[in-house]
């Protein structure tokens, strides 16, 4: 399946053709094709769907076993091109760890050094700017080990953002963030997406609805659906309803409030369809592909 946004091919920042990655007998990413341009792309999928492996491939951390990859117009299979891509890439892994004895400013500055930024003054100004952007302006001189989990996550995010990357790969960036921080994160990513491509994996469909121009749904290593968040919600159009009783014929049912259940499936006679959400569309798509 080829997943393309509405822009022309000359805008393509990230291209993949048939990329496959297996770990022993388990195929984590199975013939994935992509063509992504500027904007924010959300990758949704159940645990073990292959999201993290796909993101690690897109971040040049893992090499695919098969298939062709083009990042920022370069082929990361070649060491020199890979280094060039990495100069313009920001990567936030799942559950990143940091140096507890460093301050956030030192940590981000260290990452900037390793991103080959030579001018110390400029590096420091940029480190301060990204830390302020993620809301750590007041904490940038405290030891990382003294910060909360959410603050440490934002230090890691700032490390990914430093260097104004054209391609930003974020694996569950909102983990550990409170609602206010999640909203701040949206502003930061929206800003970055003006100049490049942001690919993020998440379990939070509200995040995707609020932030992403495009959604990829992964299941068992494959991209089983792609489109806009509105289109994903529309998948469940006329197939979702609410009632106060269990519906044994529904594909899925879940509690949405005291005594209220939401159902997904074929609308029973007499039931009024509910307005579908991205959540509904996602649940339906992953259910139907299994």
């Amino acid at each position: 399946m080829t997943t393309e946004t509405t822009h022309t091919s000359t805008d393509t920042l990230l291209g993949a053709a048939g990329i496959t990655k297996a770990f022993g007998p388990h195929t984590a990413v199975d013939h994935v094709d992509l063509a992504l341009g500027p904007g924010i792309v959300g990758v949704l999928g159940p645990n073990g769907a292959g999201k993290t492996t796909l993101l690690r491939i897109l971040a040049t951390v893992l090499a695919p076993d098969r298939g062709a990859l083009s990042l920022l117009g370069l082929d990361p299979a070649h060491p020199k091109a890979r280094t060039e891509v990495r100069r313009r890439l920001g990567y936030l892994p799942q559950s990143p760890r940091l140096y507890g004895g460093f301050t956030p400013l030192e940590m981000v500055d260290y990452v900037a050094i390793l991103k080959e930024q030579t001018d110390a003054g400029r590096r420091r100004r940029e480190a301060v700017a990204v830390l302020e952007a993620v809301g750590l302006g007041d904490a940038m001189h405290k030891r990382i080990r003294t910060l909360s989990g959410g603050m440490q996550q934002r230090v890691a995010l700032a490390s990914a953002l430093v260097g104004a990357p054209d391609l930003l790969v974020l694996d569950e960036p909102a983990t550990g963030l409170d609602p206010e921080q999640r909203i701040a994160l949206r502003s930061v990513l929206a800003e970055t997406s003006h100049r490049g491509c942001v690919v993020l994996s998440t379990h939070n469909t509200a995040e995707v609805a609020a932030l992403c121009q495009q959604v990829l749904v992964m299941d068992r290593g494959r991209i089983c659906w792609s489109g806009t968040p509105t289109e994903l919600a529309a998948e469940a159009d006329g197939r979702v309803w609410e009632s106060d009783v269990e519906e044994p014929t529904a594909l899925r049912s879940w509690l949405t409030g005291p005594g209220t259940r939401r159902h997904l499936g074929t609308l029973p006679e007499g039931a009024a369809p509910a307005v579908p959400t991205v959540d509904d569309g996602y649940l339906l798509v992953t259910r139907l592909t299994r």
Partner: protein
């Protein structure tokens, strides 16, 4: 060494946990002084010192922030080399003082370098999840095995790092070069 790596030397040195290296060095130097004063078993002490220092150097490959730094232009191989250099040079200095303090049959940096190279080779080729732990354990295992395994032939082979350290260093270095991108 490229410019970025040179600039990264100081913060990398700060990121390394020095306490275990300092503790091992202190204990070994104290033991050397004690052995010299009491005519203690110098050969065994030299072997233990080489294993302890080599394990300390190899354990420096552990980088808690490795996943965050996995996609920076300065490669993991270059960053490992930097860490080994930062830990290896003080270890060699400690070894040199230790070597002067002890009167053993074996002398020179050969055993330390051979064991370190063996540890690094295992760390590069070992399963990623426990690679550094296995690598750091390798010098200790190579030092202890000849004492616990009764077979003379086996002990002779395992003790090559002590009897023919430069050949072991060469072989382990070749393995490290082959596994440099792992």
């Amino acid at each position: 060494m490229n410019t970025a790596l040179a600039r990264a030397a100081l913060p990398t040195a700060r990121a390394i946990r020095w306490a275990p290296a300092a503790a091992v060095s202190g204990v070994l130097l104290a033991a050397a002084v004690l052995a010299r004063a009491t005519d203690g078993p110098a050969n065994m002490l030299v072997a233990t010192a080489a294993a302890g220092l080599a394990a300390t150097v190899v354990s420096g490959l552990y980088d808690p922030a490795a996943s965050l730094l996995a996609a920076v232009p300065v490669s993991v191989m270059q960053r490992r080399l930097l860490r080994l250099t930062l830990l290896g040079l003080p270890a060699l200095a400690v070894w040199s003082v230790f070597d002067r303090l002890t009167v053993a049959q074996v002398s020179g940096p050969g055993p330390l370098l051979a064991l370190t190279a063996c540890g690094v080779a295992v760390a590069l080729w070992g399963p990623p999840r426990n690679a550094v732990l296995l690598g750091a354990a390798t010098p200790v295992v190579l030092c202890a095995l000849p004492r616990v395994v009764p077979s003379a032939a086996f002990s002779d082979v395992v003790a090559w790092w002590l009897t023919d350290p430069w050949w072991v260093l060469l072989g382990a270095t070749l393995l490290c070069i082959a596994g440099r991108r792992r």
